[in-house]
Symmetry: C2
Subunit: 149 residues, 2 copies
DNA sequence: ATCTAAATGTAATGATGTTGCATTTATGTT
DNA sequence: AACATAAATGCAACATCATTACATTTAGAT
């Protein structure tokens, strides 16, 4: 099973003409295993044996290739999430809602919630929209219910 | 006129039980004079005679009091804009669209464009929404038209 | 005028992100 | 299997943004 998954990531790297290195495979494996975005600080502490600079370079190249996208959370911290849309080299289409839980700080990509088109004031030419929400995620809202009882 | 305006800012500080200091009045004067948000780097370079730490403290207290709100732009840089909604101590209501021009980098608060209410997946309890758009602002879209001709 | 909490200044430190350059490694070719 | 080389990594230094602790000054009240 683990092999199958790893093979999938190796294919992904191949597709983008990126060398299959341990660091890259580990980053992919971590990000694909979660249903939330991963913050840069988290990545850095988990992958503490990989050089900081290397990590930044991996994140940057993955973003350029359309493998992941960057989201800033409520505190301005960079978070990274895998792209499920048909993103590619310099062409991102991740215009879904990003939900930032105020309790656990996790950022969720709610891919099904797209932006409603809006008519902007005269002169503004929008190229992309992003939608943010903050509040309690399912886990944390359930937890706070329990505490309230 | 300048006196009238300054008096207005002094009243504002009074209302929030903040001492009327030169630094605070200058920050208010700068932010109220523009129709776009002001980035932290800009503030720092313009107010280069005020200590960096003081500037951060001014921004933080203004945000706490509901006088200004913080917006991160596309690069994760902190920008500050005056609150036009009825924001107060620990109660912000700035759920309008923030437009980030990719050319001039300015952030515009489009107060009239509020969030459409969305139904989130089960369990998510949203407390606040924010809407971002990026593209060309009126000035820059006009400029690019001229160049194209 | 005096007093004091609030505001500012200063120095040190932390967190995040980038750049330049030396070294190593993945991978295609022989 | 050995080689060649571009790509990837590691390391050191630096840049920027932000916070903390503590000393000093000042606005505003008495
Ligand atoms: Mn996303
Ligand atoms: Mn705003
Ligand atoms: Zn949560
Ligand atoms: Zn512009």
């Amino acid at each position: 099973m683990a092999q199958t998954k790893n093979f999938r990531f190796e294919e992904l790297l191949d597709k983008h003409h990126l060398k299959k290195t341990g660091a890259r495979l580990r980053v992919l494996s971590m990000m694909y295993s979660k249903n939330t975005a991963t913050s840069q600080p988290d990545l850095e502490s988990v992958m503490n044996d990989i050089d900081r600079v290397t990590l930044y370079r991996i994140l940057n190249v993955f973003e350029e290739k359309g493998i992941i996208h960057k989201v800033f959370d409520l505190n301005g911290t960079a978070n990274y999430a895998v792209c499920h849309a048909d993103c590619g080299e310099n062409h991102h289409h991740d215009e879904h809602l990003h939900f930032n839980c105020t309790n656990c700080k996790n950022v969720y990509c709610l891919d099904d919630l797209h932006m409603p088109r809006l008519n902007l004031p005269d002169g503004f030419k929008a190229e992309s929209f992003t939608l943010y929400a903050s509040g309690l995620c399912p886990k944390c809202s359930k937890k706070s219910q329990v505490i309230a009882n």
